[in-house]
């Protein structure tokens, strides 16, 4: 069962499960336990299946670890090695703690995704009911094709999904607790670490530089909490501190943000005043020239205020920062200094818009027409011509198009019907009768349509049958050309699925409509489709036979 190539991350001996001694293995994707002296696992769980782990409280005689699965089952391991039980258990716990979240997300995401698709698409849901619930095909088969099919829009929808922002108070959530002996304990969760990294890219950079070559993760965070960087009143950032650089970079970021100025002219306080008083005029006391007068306390207050502004700006920027933008070299600078918006080159229009907004009284206007969203084109030329192939090709410029329109208009104006060459009126009217409902050429259309003939419940049933058959047939036809072993297997299976479908679904339906004395050829088309598939299968099989022999 266990493939040999699996990487074993941790082996814990002398672990009991159901009163049996054995060994616990933690592997890359699953956790497994095998009884002593046997080379197979009796317990094996994928990490993705595990909902959570529980441990027995400290001080209990039995040192245990329980895994609870999504299905609700659980398995308990008892660490029986007297001397190292606790250590073993903690090691296992730690490792699991790191591993589980990774798989959890994946599993959940998949499940969520499936759920979402079913909820959003009633047709798909019906199909699911028809095929999976009635066990025509298995759930995996159903999804295997679906998920990959929708992978395109799947990724799209993933991008469109709003990213979860960061709580502004994430640093406050790390409540330091005294551990009783002159120390502080900080509780860090992966969420908080994520928040720190996203808000302060410089810390992430430091982390990447130092962990694990220079420092362990734990040491890194200890340093972090000890550093002045973490503490708001960063006054004397010592040189030895690895975070002093971060502080400097932050400072720089803040400065660049400030010098960049603001885009919205309505909030630009620098440009507010039209004419400032010259130096020396006015009643307001001139700003004291010396900074000596500022006390230390005032300075630290200033630092706190600055820090809050910076923190909020960073949090705001982190929420807006795109994941891919981070990897992008060009946007690196803009993303680390907390400036979240793309530089727009359209300053004057923005100003106009803001001014217009400011003077608008929407209740005085007669109709509040919705403002249309204006199209923002980088290259308007490309928009009007569409993508143009690179090789030189005679393509029509807008001038040509305009010219030709002009020519056509001209022709239209000067158009004169040549009355001598038209059809005779009798021929025309006979053509019209032939084409009207009931006419010679409209014979096919004279049949009444299905929705007039058949009661609605039968209709909807027929619809479901069509979608189900369509789905199965799609599966079937996608197997061709059959060039792998897997596809061969699949095509055989699909063939049997089709037959089963015909037997369990189509037949009863046919009988039902016969009972209701409806025209039997309602299902004719379905039968035809199935027949086509069968004959394809037959052809393929006979060819295979001949090839084999």
């Amino acid at each position: 069962m266990a493939s040999l190539s699996e990487e074993v991350l941790l082996v814990v001996k002398r672990v009991r499960q159901r009163k049996q001694d054995g060994t616990l293995y933690l592997m890359a994707e699953r956790i497994a336990w095998g009884p002593e002296g046997k080379d197979r696992f009796t317990v094996s769980h994928l990490y993705a299946d595990i909902r959570c782990q529980k441990i027995s409280p400290d001080g209990k005689a039995k040192v245990q670890l329980q895994l609870v699965l999504h299905t609700g089952e659980s398995s308990t391991f008892h660490f029986a090695n007297v001397s190292t039980a606790l250590k073993d258990r903690d090691a296992t716990k730690e490792l699991l703690q790191q591993l589980l979240p990774r798989f959890k997300k994946k599993a959940n995401k998949e499940l969520e995704e499936k759920n979402r698709m079913l909820q959003e698409d009633p047709v798909l849901f019906q199909l699911y009911k028809d095929l999976v619930v009635s066990q025509v095909i298995s759930a995996e088969e159903f999804w295997a094709n679906r998920l990959s099919l929708s992978s395109v829009d799947h990724s799209l929808s993933n991008n469109n999904k709003q990213e979860v922002g960061i709580s502004a108070a994430f640093l406050a959530d790390i409540r330091p607790q005294t551990d009783g002996c002159n120390g502080l304990r900080y509780n860090l969760t992966s969420d908080i670490i994520e928040s720190i990294f996203r808000t302060y890219p410089t810390v992430k950079q430091k982390y990447a530089e130092n962990v694990p070559h220079n420092l362990t993760e734990k040491e890194f965070w200890t340093h972090f909490f000890q550093s002045h960087y973490f503490h708001r009143d960063r006054l004397n950032t010592g040189q030895q501190d690895i975070f002093s650089e971060c502080a400097k970079q932050d400072e720089k970021g803040l400065k660049s943000m400030v010098t960049q100025g603001v885009k919205n002219p309505m909030v630009d306080l620098l440009a507010l005043e039209d004419k400032t008083l010259d130096e020396g005029y006015g009643t307001a006391a001139a700003p004291s020239t010396s900074n000596v007068t500022k006390t230390l306390r005032e300075n630290s207050n200033c630092a706190i205020i600055k820090r809050f502004n910076h923190h909020s700006a960073m949090v705001l920027a982190a929420g807006l920062r795109k994941v891919e933008a981070c990897s992008d070299q060009t946007s690196e600078t803009s993303s680390t200094d907390g400036n979240s918006r793309d530089s727009d080159l359209f300053q004057p229009p923005l100003k106009k818009v803001k001014l217009q907004e400011a003077i608008e009284y929407d209740d005085l206007q007669s109709d509040c027409r919705r403002k249309p969203i204006s199209l923002n084109l980088k290259k308007s030329d490309r928009y009007s011509h569409g993508p143009v192939p690179l090789q030189s090709q005679p393509y029509t410029s807008s001038q040509d198009i305009l010219n030709s329109i002009g020519v056509i208009q001209h022709e239209m104006k000067s158009y004169k019907p040549r009355l001598t060459q038209v059809m005779s009126s009798s021929a025309a009217s006979s053509a019209i009768t032939a084409l009207s409902p009931g006419g010679v050429l409209m014979q096919g259309g004279s049949q009444q349509t299905v929705n007039q003939l058949v009661p609605s419940d039968v209709q909807s049933e027929l619809k479901h049958l069509y979608t189900a058959a369509g789905e199965l047939l799609r599966h079937f036809w996608t197997c061709f050309p059959v060039n792998t072993l897997f596809l061969e297997e699949k095509v055989v299976k699909m063939q049997s699925n089709l037959e089963r479908f015909q037997l369990t679904k189509l037949r009863p339906f046919q009988e039902k409509i016969q009972r209701q004395y409806l025209s039997a050829n309602l299902t004719g088309h379905l039968e035809e489709m199935l027949q086509a598939a069968y004959s394809k299968f037959q052809a393929w099989q006979s060819r295979r036979m001949t090839r084999k022999t």
Partner: protein, 760 residues
């Protein structure tokens, strides 16, 4: 719609109208008819600007001989631009309705920094640099030098304008700052000088207060504006401070040192010129004998600050002999500087009046009053004669000369205070001479005297009677308009106690109290949990805010607030604050919500609007009294008491309340807007404070919301916010706070409207 305002056909560019707008226009019309001045208070967001513009433009078109020009003064550049855009809307409407293209010319004027299109000069960041650089390219003698030396760089935009720009007047239309720049670029003309030239024949000029109130600039820019103009001061609640600021001078030791250096430079230049070009100085002397009139034909490009005093009779006199020659004048200035230096060498505070100062200076260094009066004018002339290129370097000596002129001209309304050190740091010597104007009417008097109608208007002018008193004029109309509301979209609450019943107040004795600070923190925390989007909180001063923020941080209150909203804080650095403001708006925009901690009397409280979701609640922590220990303020209060019979306390409360109202009013910018206005100080509940709030706030202040605890506030706020979140449609407003033309014409509506205006 077309309105009939007391017999005047007024085009109003909207299909609906607020009743108070109609009422406002009626009062305005009466003021214009009487050719008098007016004080009109109407809450912001009720379309004050468009009402003003509609009526005055209509008046101008109907009676072109009565009112020739509208001079619209506003405070900030964005405000100016907004006014021009509203005007554009109005004129477009005129064109649409009448079918004829109007020949209206309206333009905005701003400083060079906002109008320059010279590639090098406009790239400079600070206004002063731009002015200096511009001057070095366009000053009259620089251009004269170019005749002999073609290599001399000049501004080609100005040259072009000077050559052809004056012959053809600018085509009629509405020119905002950007439009002027576009036009200038197209023609290759300098937009700044074009605008300054064009205001003379424009129908409407929009610019900032300073161009009219600051005599140093007003003389240069607005001197030739027609008498038959209507002047509007919008957002005028602070106009007295603008007036005072423009007339006050501070002299520090640094100023004196720099002036000293300036005088040295002047001396050297004079000596050099004497050797090379003595004729030039002779000519100047001759000119000065003939009087200053000649010298006063100022070339428009010269940015020398003009004489700070206006009286014409001085200009007709000849410059006194003692300072007529250049050397004598420099010697005179040296003497004056030495005297000032000796005055700054003191160890105790000195306060004296202008006559006392003059007496002392005559006794000590024998400087007479008369030559002092001519100081500014004489220096201007000298600087021009000496062809000093970089005027900015001479700002110190210019300041001193202005001081000399002012102190010798006005015997009343000013005070001189010499402080040897700052109050906070008594050990560090930092002597300052404050020459402080105490009477705002001095600066604004010429405006009232010159123009036939001056309208002072704002959202917060209460109590209305105080402005005519401190500005010393007699208005023909004084009125306050309320905001008619279909739903009470503002909810003023006075929070006086914490949940622990400890009184909340920023009173000096208790402001450092731990319980008060904690309660303030709890209030903000509770509000941050229930108010959607943006909250703006104002503190009474910057230092106070710093302290509170620090202790909130220590008490982990800020951390808890951060769980609800992002926090942004105003700093003393304007660029940093702009950044914080923008981020704040961004956070409100994307739904995160944010809190802005700000300061009353700060830049944010004066110039930034928090419309709709940018400000769903405003919290005013404490009563924003001005720092009362300052000697300048004390002197001013004394003056107010003696001259205008305004009691100190009345004025202080008035000043505090107008700033508080200004702060909380930032959040309500229209009838579809809504917001909580929270006054967090128990003192607001007192009648003397409450009574000084604008009428449109007072009206909604019920007795039940006077002394609330934090919990009660939260309950009331929740209720209010839930109500306001309901959809609000036009039908709800129609007939109550929004009128169609038919509704407006009905008899009982007109009766109702008559009650909107409350005459003071």
């Amino acid at each position: 719609m077309k309105l009939n305002i007391d017999g005047l056909l007024v085009y109003f560019p909207y299909d609906y109208i607020y009743p108070e707008q109609y009422s406002y226009m009626l009062e305005l019309k009466r003021t214009l008819d009487a050719k008098g001045h007016g004080v009109l208070e109407m809450p912001s967001g009720t379309g004050k600007t468009i009402s003003l513009l509609s009526l005055i433009v209509a008046y101008q078109t109907t009676f072109p001989l009565e009112v020739t020009k509208l001079i619209y003064c506003s405070r900030t550049v964005p405000e100016i631009e907004k006014v021009v855009e509203e005007l554009r809307k109005l004129i477009d409407y005129y064109a649409k309705e009448t079918g004829a293209k109007s020949n209206f010319l309206a333009l905005a004027l701003s400083s060079r920094k906002n109008l320059c299109i010279h590639p090098e000069v406009s790239s400079l960041r600070f206004g002063k640099e731009v002015d200096g650089k511009c001057h070095s390219l366009t000053a009259s003698y620089i251009r004269a030098q170019r005749h002999s030396n073609p290599a001399q760089p000049v501004c080609k935009f100005y040259e072009e304008f000077d050559a052809v720009g004056r012959q053809v007047p600018i085509p009629s239309g509405i020119y905002n700052l950007d439009d002027l720049k576009d036009f200038g670029r197209r023609k290759g003309w300098c937009p700044y000088f074009l605008a300054r030239y064009s205001i003379l024949h424009a129908n409407i000029v929009v610019y900032s207060y300073h161009y009219l109130l600051d005599p140093k600039i007003a003389d240069l820019v607005s001197k030739e504006l027609a008498k038959k103009s209507v002047v509007v001061f919008d957002e005028a609640h602070n106009i007295d401070n603008v007036c005072i600021d423009s007339m006050s001078v501070n002299i520090t030791r640094r100023t004196l040192d720099r002036s000293q250096a300036n005088v040295e430079t002047l001396q050297n230049t004079i000596n050099r010129i004497k050797e090379t070009d003595a004729a030039k100085l002779k000519e100047e002397y001759k000119r000065l004998v003939e009087g200053l009139k000649e010298a006063n034909v100022a070339r428009e490009t010269d940015v020398y600050l003009s004489n700070p005093v206006l009286p014409d009779e001085i200009l007709k006199e000849a410059v006194p002999g003692s300072i007529r020659t250049a050397e004598h004048f420099v010697g005179f200035m040296k003497r004056f500087l030495e005297y000032l230096k000796s005055r700054l060498r003191i160890h105790h505070v000195v306060q004296e009046s202008a006559p006392q100062f003059l007496k002392d200076i005559f006794e000590k260094v024998c400087i007479d009053r008369k030559p002092l009066r001519f100081c500014a004018e004489r220096l201007r002339s000298l600087l021009r004669t000496l062809e000093i290129a970089d005027i900015a370097d001479f700002s110190a000596i210019t300041l001193i000369s202005h001081f000399a002129t002012l102190v010798s001209t006005y015997s009343k309304g000013f005070t001189i205070i010499i402080e040897p050190f700052e109050d906070r740091t008594p050990t560090i010597a930092n002597p300052v001479l404050h020459f402080s104007c105490m009477d705002p009417s001095i600066a604004i008097k010429p405006v009232f005297g010159r123009f036939q109608s001056v309208i002072i208007t704002s959202g917060t002018l209460s109590p209305l009677d105080i402005y005519p008193r401190i500005l010393d004029f007699r208005p023909v109309t004084v009125a306050s308009f309320t905001m008619t509301l279909a739903r009470t979209c503002l909810c003023p609450l006075i929070v006086g106690r914490g949940n622990d019943q400890v009184a909340m107040t920023s009173k000096f004795e208790t402001r450092e109290d731990f319980a008060v600070i904690r309660n303030y923190g709890n209030l903000l925390l509770e509000m941050s949990a229930i108010v959607p989007d943006g909250i703006v909180a104002f503190f009474t001063s910057y230092v106070y805010m710093e302290n509170i923020v620090a202790s909130w941080y220590e008490q982990a209150i800020l951390e808890n607030i951060q769980r609800n909203k992002l926090i942004f804080i105003e700093t003393q650095d304007a660029a940093e604050t702009s950044m914080a403001l923008e981020k704040y708006q961004e956070a409100c925009e994307n739904g995160r919500g944010a809190i802005l901690l700000s300061v009353a009397r700060g830049k944010v409280s004066e110039g930034i609007d928090f419309v709709h979701h940018f400000g769903r609640a405003v919290i005013m922590f404490g009563v924003p009294y001005v720092y009362t220990q300052s000697r300048i303020l004390k002197a001013r209060l004394e003056y107010l008491r003696d001259q205008f019979q305004i009691r100190e306390n009345d004025f202080l409360t008035f000043d505090a309340m107008r700033h508080a109202a200004q702060c909380v009013g930032r959040a309500i910018r229209g009838k579809t807007d809504y917001g909580l206005l929270i006054f967090a100080d128990k003192r607001y509940a007192r009648a003397d404070k409450r009574g000084k709030l604008p009428r449109w706030i007072q009206e909604h202040l019920t007795d039940g919301s006077l002394n609330l605890t934090i919990d009660e506030t939260v309950q009331l706020s929740k209720h209010f916010l839930r109500q306001m979140a309901q959809p609000f449609r036009r039908e709800d407003q129609l007939g109550l706070s929004l009128l169609t033309l038919e509704q407006l014409q009905s008899e009982d509506m007109l009766q109702k409207i008559a009650q909107i205006a409350q005459q003071a």
